[in-house]
Symmetry: C2
């Protein structure tokens, strides 16, 4: 552990702390009229619709501070909410941040967390407009609400997928899950349950995918620039299978996806081999990739195929056909959502 | 303890649970375009500004389930956020609700909590449009975001109070604090630290003020109906002294308030006597009354004086004069914020 300054939070109090953490935040969006410091933030959206998404992250359930640095935690917490706004085909604009912290945390810790939050917000031009900082008996809780906008005719829901639509994903899948496996292994080392030093060499990309995910605003922009409006869209937080089931269920449709079309990074494949895991299972159920899953009309086939970093992995069917994965050897397997679910045993 | 059914949350899982708790919610506001069930909720505010406020409530810090029934907790959690939108002179419209629950809680518990949330939302015509239900290692965490609207020229901030403005409060103060004292006494009985049974007779109002506070939408309506726009406004959550300091600091002003003008309920006075507490101190620092504190131009004196349930308690001064309470015998005491602060020791 490095030596660092430790200033107790009680020295500033609630209002002092919020001022300290947010005093130099300057709004970047013209829709932000008033931010931190009143009963509510004030925004203006005369010509577009307003999108709101929220997330509550609890220490020990959603993150483990043994191996996640606070700055990365802040970055990721902001990013997963920004990702939800993109998943509606919208533009993220404002964010509120509420923290509940136990006495274990000092002001320098919260500065680290905020540094990560702000880095993510700056990268996507999001204004922090308010929040709440309070105490907790045990551990850290982070609640984030992200506000964005989109013209009504550009908003993409989950329920618009139609038969013959193409199913597309951005980036690659399973890497964030592999990064988590690496970190869990590192934790066991840390706890003295294993002897060897962890070896991250050649696996930096997996760690980055787990610790510093990027919301795919670039894909949203590329789709708009190329005149493509998805018929349905989600971000992949719980795993491809789980998200695909949401789209199919809400769209009253079925689907076929091809195992060989699922985009994988080389490091993901190597790590799966090392851990003796089926890489397709990891890509289907791993979660936390924050890539975009969307469907487009068949007529957009050529336009989508031309775009970088987007892969067509299958197509939408009639609901009677169910949801299936077609393996490399041509067999059909029914898709099941085995994604991460914090409420199951 | 009464016998009740206990269904484990794991039987429904996250998505099943959200559907179960929100399936019969029907939007009441035309600004609510899409609620629960997508990456984000969608709202439309073409002609007014958007207000957003958020709160994170932690078990053991903000509420004690030994004496607060879950339905009341839900009601109060919603109400305190609704109150923040009124405090901007706005109209509350939508709400997102995130819950983190430990295994101690069952589905019936969350139904109770939601029943209270919904009762508060229905009373103020607020739509529940989204949220998150997840697990926690210890206890219950509730994060609520409330969204509202107001025409730009009607929004009231904290920084608009000017010299000679009149300081007004709605309702009466200190009752919620007295209700808390009653419940704390009851808890000691429950824990066997006292022998006698608690006696709530004649103190029902105090309990109600603590357990079932009402956001003062009626006052906002009365002010508008009578052509009064406050120059500054807040809701009283942390105590009159603390809130008055916010207004004076942000407005670069001082104030004088009169002890004899602070509105008190008869039950508050009786209870203070019983507990050997100074009733003025309780009214100044008690908090959780969720009454409105606002300032109006001196020229609105007659209009305000005619309104029910509003009391003029003092006036705004130059900043050099500081903030003071003038006691019944004419002495001046400097006001200090001793309100509840979860981050101080």
């Amino acid at each position: 552990m490095q030596e660092k300054q430790r200033t107790e939070i009680a020295t500033l109090g609630e209002f002092g702390l919020i001022r300290h953490l947010t005093s130099d935040i300057r709004p970047q969006n013209s829709s932000t009229l008033r931010g931190v410091g009143d009963d509510a933030a004030v925004m203006s959206y005369p010509d577009t619709e307003v999108l709101v998404t929220t997330d509550l992250l609890m220490e020990g359930v959603h993150f483990d501070l043994t191996y996640v640095p606070l700055k990365h935690l802040g970055y990721k917490s902001a990013m997963v909410n920004i990702s939800d706004i993109y998943a509606m085909n919208g533009t993220p604009r404002q964010m509120t941040v509420s923290l509940a912290v136990s006495k274990r945390f000092c002001i320098e810790d919260l500065e680290e967390l905020y540094a990560g939050l702000r880095l993510a917000c700056e990268a996507h031009h999001v204004d922090i407009v308010g929040g709440d900082t309070t105490s907790s008996l045990t551990g850290l809780a982070i609640s984030i609400t992200c506000i964005g906008d989109a013209p009504r005719d550009r908003i993409v829901y989950r329920d618009g997928a139609r038969e013959t639509d193409l199913i597309c994903v951005s980036g690659n899948l399973g890497a964030a899950y592999m990064g988590l496996q690496l970190l869990e292994r590192e934790k066991k080392v840390f706890e003295g349950q294993r002897e060897a030093h962890p070896d991250f060499a050649g696996k930096e990309y997996l760690l980055e995918r787990q610790l510093k995910p990027e919301a795919r605003g670039d894909i949203i922009k590329a789709l708009a620039d190329n005149g493509i409006k998805p018929t349905a869209m989600m971000d992949i937080s719980d795993g491809l299978s789980s998200e695909l089931m949401h789209i199919c269920t809400q769209s009253h449709a079925g689907c076929r996806i091809y195992e060989e079309r699922i985009p994988l990074d080389y490091q993901t494949a190597v790590m799966a081999e090392e851990l003796n895991l089926n890489v397709t299972t990891c890509a289907l159920n791993g979660g936390e990739d924050y890539e975009l899953l969307f469907t487009v009309p068949l007529s957009d086939n050529e336009k989508v195929a031309r775009l970088d970093d987007i892969r067509i992995i299958g197509y939408i069917t009639k609901p009677e056909l169910g949801m299936a994965l077609i393996t490399r050897d041509g067999q059909e397997f029914e898709l099941r959502a085995q994604g991460w679910n914090p409420l199951r045993e």
